[in-house]
Every structure is written in structure tokens, then in C-alpha cells.
Amino acid sequence: MSENFETAIRSMCEGVGNDKARMMDIVREVQETFGCVSDDAMDLIADQVRTPRVEVESVVTFYAFLSKKQNGTVVFRLCDDIIDRMFGFERLKHAITEELGIDIGETTADGRFSLETTPCIGMCDQAPALMINDEIFTEVSRDTLLDYVEQLKAGITPERLRRRLGDGNNSNPLVSAAVSNNIRTRGEVIFAPLECGRALKKALSMSPNEVIRDIKTARLRGRGGAGFPTGMKWDFTRAARGERKFVICNADEGEPGTFKDRVILTERPELLIEGMAIAGYAIGAQEGIIYLRGEYAYLRPFLEDMLQKARNTGMLGKAIFGKQGFDFDIRIQMGAGAYVCGEETALISSCEGLRGDPKNRPPFPAQKGYHGYPTSVNNVETFCCVARILDQGAGWFSQIGSKGSTGTKLLSISGDCRRPGVYEVPFGIKLCEVLEMAGGNGAVAVQIGGPSGQMVGPKDYNRTICYDDLATGGAMMVFGPNRNLLEVVHYFMEFFVEESCGYCTPCRVGNALLKDRLERIMEGKGEPADLDYLEDLGVTVKSTSRCGLGQTSPNPILSTLKNFRPLYEQLVHEDQPFQATFDIQKALGEAKSIAGRPSMHFAE
């Protein structure tokens, strides 16, 4: 171990004040600098921040973007979600494994290139996509990818591979990403023009309780998917006793098929920052955290700059807009590739420098959240709605949308439709109208709300998008007539098995069992009783899992069993000769070769 190495690691720890709660920042920096967090590095970190080594290792081994083994200088991460699979993932995978001569999960012998896959990176409207280090590349063809590899081999850095920049702020020098916003419809709440600071000033002229009352009057509900009334959450957080309080923005948009927060972060960060400051004022918090998913690291310099600008104009910092006693600032916490961290208690664990394990509830974060202090965790879009409600009035907001679901909703639409992208629509809109807008008229199925949501067919196209009918955090994947829906379901189950944190048995084991039984059915080895098994086990996993992941992960199976049952029924048969997992020829293989004679009962 060289002295330089030791100095570097120790100074990275010192950079965050040797605070073990900032473990995520430390290990991310080590990973970025050295291409891995080696055993030596973990020893040094543990020593420097005075924590047991296992604490460091548990973090490093939990997150997909951290690794113990040395990665190549250039890491390819092919986005492997169902939409990318529909639009050429296999082609890219085949091309690049052949070109580099390595498999997924391997590094070339010269240590230059590593190849990995990653679940949804939030680019489903421009699939297939991949990351090369932190750079994002979208709508990549086989030839383009091979061309990238060639240039990288010639020593070009990933940043210089970009051929074009995206629209809007994607072309901002601090973002400079080849990502498109694809904003298709602009509504009145999120994408309407904005006068910065007006909403916050208005909030500061009111008492915190009045602000919360306004949010309640507007009947705002959380935009992440669960739909908890925001005003109520803030009330609880405000009422809870704590020396410090926190506002956390959940920008860990990990639900496959969702990418609307990416567009908000790119185009409306001011609205988000303002909304967070208002939340801070309302609940009495001085500190805010934006938990940004690792896949969106390319937005970080831009967001840091926006935060600095907000400090310069007095929207963040001490005595905001001259209001004595109201201090509020925001820091960005980077994630490192873990879907479960979108669950609010897992997200808090991650912010605390731990594995992204969900916590027991109660106590809810509003009572005991970040480091045990009252914390309100809200979605990116929710904060934006807050700012707009303060600016335009609760009455104005509650006129938009439907009775139980006020305001607008951003939908991330992808898949078999002519106009994939982000749509801001009023709640209460019919699914068929949305499909019409997106040019997905021929859809045989639509996955509402990502894998944890539900899959519906044409008989449900007249239903409405709102909390009381088809609830969604924003994802909407459209599947045309040529798609095998069971393959889609299977992908979703693979995803949940991979992303389960493993803490509770129903989720860790149950999802794997569900996936196995589904595979058995797909292989034609299932029997009708397997469908009951899937239903029973699905309900058990849902009702006994510890956090939202397991409480929703059986949904792809359960909703397709309900809405697309014939797909399953045509695959299962009575009177299977054996259990699907039993292979008589394999079981007899050894004996046949030892005895040198064939089986008398089971001819091959």
C-alpha cells in the first residue's frame, strides 16, 4: 500500500469531517478515484472515521455502483430494463461483449474497460441507453456503440464522445448531456413559466401553520406514488419534537419507466429548491437534503450551481429574504445505484451513510427520521407543486384535476408509442386520452406506475389517472401487440429479486419463489394449481413484507393474473409427468455412465 494511497484516502475522509454518517460520499469518491473500494481502502476508511470495518464493507457491497474489485478506467453500464430490451438491448450487449471480448461483470485484461448492466437509468423515452462512466448516451445503435469503443480505445475520454447535446438545459455547460427532455405537454403547475422567489416570499409573509393550511386546502398528495397527503405529513413533522428537523427531497427516481424527475431537475430546479425552502419554513427545518440517484450524477454540477445561485439571491442561507430566524440550506446526497433507496426509510439510511435498508415503521420519519430527527421526505414533483400552490393559491390549484386528486401529474411514457416523453396532464384524465396523446393507440397492455404498479388491458382504458383509480408515481409503459407480456412480468420479477435488500424473508425469498414458479409456467411445465400458488404467495409477500418494495413487488404477477389470465391458462397443463424441477435423465446420468448401460424404465 503506497503512502500516497493512504494520504489520499485519509484526506477524502477528512473532506467530510471524518463523519461516518457521510460514508456514501467517502466511498463514492474512493470508487471514482481508484476504480474500486479495495480491502485496503476499507481498512483505512474504517480507521479514519472510527467505525467497525464491517460498516464500511456493508455499504460498499450493497450499492451497485461501488465495487471491491478493480473496475476498468472506463465502465460501460448498459441500461437493462424492459423498454431497453424491447428496443435493442440484446443487440448492444452482443456487439459490445464481442468487441471487448469480455462478458457482463468482467473487466478487460489490460484493465481499461469494464462491462456491466444496470436497471433503468431513467431514459426509457430514448432507449436503448447506456452510461459510460457518468456520461449518458441515448438512442444508441450498434454501430454507434462500436464506434464509441473504437474511439475510447484510441484514448478519447467519454465526455468527448458526445455527438450532440440535448434540448433545454441539457445543453447547459454544467450539464452538457446528450439527453433529451421530450416534454410533450406543458401543464399549469410544473412547466408553466416561473417567477423565482415569489412563492417563497409569499410563504414567509404567512405563519408556518398558514402555509401548511394552504397545502391542506389545495389537497396536495405525494407525487412519488403512495399519495400521502403532504399537508398532513408536514403537520406531523412540525408537531414532532426535535432539536433539528430535516426536509429531504426524494430524487432517487428508480422505478423503471419513470423519468419525469430527471426532466424537473433539468428544467425546473428553481421550483424544487423554492418548494424545499417553503417546506423548511413550514415544518421548522434548517437543513435540506436532495437525495440524487447515482444515475443522475451528470446533473450534480448543475444542481450545485443552482443551489449556489439560490444562496446568492438569498433564497437559501441565513435569514432568508430578510426573515430573521429562518435559516435553511440544502446539500446534495448522491446515491449509488440501489432501487430500494427510493423507499423513504431506506433513503434515510442511505443518507446516514448506511446500507439502504428500510427501517421499521413506526416511528415514521415525521417523528424519527434522519439521525432520529423529525424529517419530511417528499418527491421532487411534490415540492414543485408546493411552490406553485403558494404562488398561485390553494384555491387555484384545487380547481385543477379531479376531486380526490388535485393538480396535474407528470407522466413518463415509454414503450410502443409514437411520442414517448414527459406529459403534464391534469388528474382525472382517461387512460385512453393519454394513449391517444402519446400515439400508443394499438396498445394491448399498459403498465401503470412501473413494475410496482399494475398492468391493465383495453377493458380498463376508460379508467382515469388519479389516486382513487389508476394511481401512478408517473411511469407508464406501453406494450404493443407483438410483445410477450409474461416476459415483461418476468423481467419485473427479476428486477425485484435483484433489488430486494434481503432484510426480510417474505421479500427476499418470496420474490425468488414467485419468479421460479413463473419460469416454470413459461417453460410449459406448469399446472393449473401453480396459478393459485402464485396468487397465494403473492398475497403473502405483499401483506408480510417490511417495506414498500415487497409490499408491491408481486403486483406484476397479481395484476396480470387478474387482467390477462388467459395468457397463463394457455401455458399450464394438468397431468405433468414430473415436477418441473425434476429431470430424470439428469438424475440418472452418473449411474448410467458408471454402469455403462441405459435406464430400463426411462428411455432417453
Partner: protein, 181 residues
């Protein structure tokens, strides 16, 4: 109406579970009042004569003949029960599962300390069923409807299960019948 039929067999088992069936003692007279026995070692009927309501299977599957018999039971029995720990878990015969088959045979016929085998050959008559690579519990081979644990399950447990199934009543298995320590 013809009496329902039951069938029993012992695969890779020790016949202990069948002894336990016989331990229902004089109740066997009650039993034959309500059922006929089809294929079973108890009456020595070798092949099924028709469809059965209940099949009791002792022992797991160690060789291809076990598998064939088990398949036969599944085909002919409406309700198939794994009787005892070997049928359910593989039991003692499954202790060989961690050892490669070749080593097991060598130890049994060539190298074992008590082996006397001047021919130095491992029996390999074409009539000898081939062994499976490991011993399988029955439910890993075919679908099993019920499991009656115990080594062996007590006569009372077997009696309760059978009479409940035959009279279509809920099974009553008090704690004493399903506690094993």
C-alpha cells in the same frame, strides 16, 4: 357403491412406516370395512388394479424403480400422501447426497472396512435398477398432496389422517400426535 381403495408402497424406506400402519392394531378391521386395499405390501398385490382414492408412500426416491413406482402412484391415486420423514425429506438414505455416487459404490462394494468381495466387481446386472445421482424426497419428483411427518408417524396419526380423508371430515391432529421430541 363400491368401497374406495387405498394403496401403499415403500420406496427408499425401512418399512418402519408400514409397521406403524399395522400398529393401528384391531382398527385395521374397521379400516377394511370402509376401504379396499389395492397395490400394497400388506396384501402383496404387485400392480394397480384400478383407481385409488388414497396412496401412502413411504421412503424417498433412490433409484429409477422408485421413480417409476411413484409415478404409477401419482397416476392411480387421487390423493397422494408422503408418509414419514424419508418420503418427506429423503431421510437416512439421503445421507449419501453429499458424496458422489461413484464414491458411495466404491465404499459399499470395494473399499469399506467390512467388505469381502474377492471378485472386485460392483454388481451391475441389467435387472438392478440404476441409482439416482442423489436421493430425492417424493414431492421433488411428483406432486404430493399431503405430508405426514414422523419417523415413523404414529399409528394414531395415520389413523386420524386416513379416517378424516375417507369420511370427508376435517383432520384432527392434536399436539401429542405431531410433536416429535
Amino acid at each position: 357403491m363400491a368401497k374406495p381403495k387405498i394403496a401403499t408402497t415403500s420406496l427408499a424406506g425401512c418399512f418402519g412406516c408400514h409397521m406403524s400402519i399395522l400398529d393401528i392394531d384391531e382398527r385395521i378391521l374397521e379400516l377394511v370395512d370402509i376401504v379396499d386395499f389395492d397395490k400394497s405390501p400388506i396384501n402383496d398385490i404387485k400392480e394397480f388394479t384400478g383407481e385409488c382414492l388414497v396412496g401412502l408412500v413411504e421412503g424417498g426416491c433412490a433409484n429409477e424403480e422408485n421413480v417409476r413406482v411413484l409415478q404409477d402412484f401419482r397416476k392411480h391415486c387421487k390423493i397422494l400422501i408422503s408418509l414419514g420423514d424419508c418420503a418427506i425429506n429423503g431421510g437416512l438414505p439421503a445421507m449419501r447426497n453429499t458424496i458422489p455416487l461413484k464414491e458411495c459404490l466404491d465404499e459399499a462394494y470395494l473399499n469399506g472396512p467390512s467388505v469381502y468381495n474377492p471378485s472386485g466387481r460392483i454388481p451391475n446386472d441389467s435387472e438392478i435398477p440404476l441409482l439416482l445421482n442423489k436421493v430425492y424426497p417424493c414431492h421433488e419428483v411428483v406432486k404430493i398432496d399431503y405430508h405426514l411427518p414422523g419417523c415413523p408417524p404414529s399409528a394414531d396419526t395415520i389413523w386420524q389422517a386416513l379416517t378424516a380423508l375417507l369420511t370427508d371430515k376435517p383432520m384432527e391432529l392434536p399436539y401429542e400426535l405431531i410433536k416429535y421430541d
